[in-house]
Symmetry: none
Subunit: 206 residues, 4 copies
DNA sequence: TATGAATGAGATTTCATTCAT
DNA sequence: CATGAATGAAATCTCATTCAT
């Protein structure tokens, strides 16, 4: 917490801003608090970011840009679709339920109406890409004869819904007393339920 | 919009308040706007509700109290679990994606940190009850020999996740240009995916 | 407290108003509270008094008009000045320290700047008359050979000061924990101290 | 009044606040007016004091803390009690009737019910200490054989009452047309009256 | 570059007062 | 007469943003 001499860097400020927006929402977050958390003055904060909105947008974009690539495998190769899904889901649940990351869906949902550009950005850059990845994975499984699925573009939403559910549970409800979940365990159950439906007969794991 | 003579009633004011909170979030919503939308003065609004927080909380609770009972069947009888699920999901998706109702999860997610009591209430009264209903439905299916499911308390979250996904899509992303979804169609696909996993071999519909 | 049927009368309303002004001061007193205390509506209160200021002024004037005459003897006759003083002071202290009456100096002192006409009225009708009475009493004693006093118009203020001190002690300081005083005992000590100075040698009582 | 460049300091603001509270009472005083009187904005005033109540309390405490020590001699030495009283009373009357200082008893009396902590503070720090000083002075006189007094703890109140009377006369009644008093002359008459009673026979001055 | 100090523009909330019934 | 309901006009307080140093 002490920040004795080294000037705080931009990324750290963005992380502090995320914490503040996460805790209070956009409107209630105070520039003063972000600045003080970073050990600098409000005016110094304005030297780095032109406005509260700018900080907010950059805090979101920055996190997405840094986190998304490491979450999404781009190639399926000739790996089994089941294996890929069983690898991906626990990783995604873990990431999404980390408080730093969960901030994004939470804040997008809460402030989306006030920041349409940001909601649009999140939709385009995150939601659509994840959905396409999932749909692609299902098609990969169908192509390999592993899966049977009538409409991968709809089914992929069932997969994504489980992940969002886990993230919101963590960030919204656990702080007010909900029974804590184990993201990995939940991810596995989610994978089980979905794979039970996707896998063609005879190959079924569960 | 014109409100020529009849005095506006409490329920109408709550609906207007919901629209305002939905559009702007709690902090940015202005009492003045809610009052003007109802054709009364700010002071008259304070005659009915003691504070902005009070109107917010009541707007949320009121909607939940009025909508929840008509959504949740309490008895399964000896109906087929599959039928019950195929009846319930489209209904739930439809309700949840109506803008008036979708406001609730959106606002709970966005403002939950500032209104812990409300988040707790929503968790206890809505989330938990819906999850229990779904888990009960799965157990009903298992008891009837229809379903196979290792852990209904986890699987039920997969079901709920799809519904939340649909609601958020409607309220958060469609207004910024996302491709509109058909809730019923999505509900059916969701039911297909889940039932494919739950139904024991030989009974499978899809 | 219950006021089931008989319409509350003007004097009772004024007494309630005094209690309210006494407790909160003029500005912080609320018309609503006065009305409710009297079991009538705010609007009904306005039917009897044209404004808050009017109520206040009348509450003060009413109390003075009713209380003052019974406190001030108008004739000294050929009674001993010492006896008169020893009779008058305990009476005056008792009256002045009754909460209903103490309200007057307290509120005149506190709100005098906002109600110059009232302060003037109190000065003319109460303060001056009491001072004159006291000065007259001293002169009465001097004329009878009981008292020696260089300047009755100044000495009378010493007498009055003690009474005001007692009233303020009661109303201002006792409610916040000051040691309670016995008005009669204090009046007697006050009389002792003053008479010791006024009485000519050889007649001294103490 | 013109405040061309130098930034106004805290003590000046407190003095302006006292003037405002003195003129209007606590409730009717406006932060805007205090700020404008100091040539700064309302927000700048809030930079120095967190609330209206805080500025009020500090204005009172500040004045007491600065004025009280210079009014109260702590040592009697072997000076004549009569001399000490004849020195102290005119000084005290002068101070107490200065408008800047008379504000304190006036405001404590008027707002004491709304600021119990302040009334208590004034009682403990000013009233009690002054009463004790006076009682001590009387005992000092008794010990030196100068005074005779049955109960110094009651008699001291007669002394204090005269001073309060003078202060209130100045602040409450002179502004509405009361005949102005000369504090020093009144103090001397007060001293005469009291000393006439206290001094043992044969030493009497008057 | 950094900051302490300042502020303009609002937001919520409160009440004395009015008026239709 | 009585009142429930309404309101206009403030007043306190907050904060993103700026600027002189």
């Amino acid at each position: 917490m002490a920040r004795p001499s080294a000037p705080i860097d931009r990324d750290q400020l963005l992380a502090l801003a995320r914490a503040e927006f996460n805790a209070r929402g956009f409107a209630a977050a105070r520039m003063e608090d972000i600045a003080r958390a970073g050990g600098i003055s409000k005016a110094a904060l304005y030297l780095r970011f032109p406005s509260k909105e700018a900080i907010f947008e950059e805090a979101v974009r920055d996190l997405i840009a840094r986190t998304l690539p490491e979450m999404l495998p781009s190639e399926f190769g000739d790996n089994s679709a089941e294996t890929l899904l069983r690898q991906f889901l626990p990783l995604a649940f873990l990431r999404l339920t980390e408080p730093e990351f969960a901030f994004v869906p939470r804040v997008i949902i809460g402030e989306g109406a006030n920041f349409p550009a940001l909601a649009r950005f999140y939709h385009d850059e995150v939601i659509l890409r994840v959905l396409e990845l999932m749909a692609g994975l299902i098609r990969h499984g169908v192509a390999r004869g592993e899966f049977a699925c009538a409409d991968p573009d709809l089914a992929c939403r069932t997969i994504a819904g489980g992940a969002i559910f886990a993230a919101l549970w963590r960030v919204v409800f656990e702080p007010v007393g909900a029974q804590p979940i184990d993201p990995v365990q939940l991810a596995q159950a989610h994978a089980d339920t979905i794979l039970a439906g996707l896998l063609v007969r005879g190959e079924q794991a569960q």
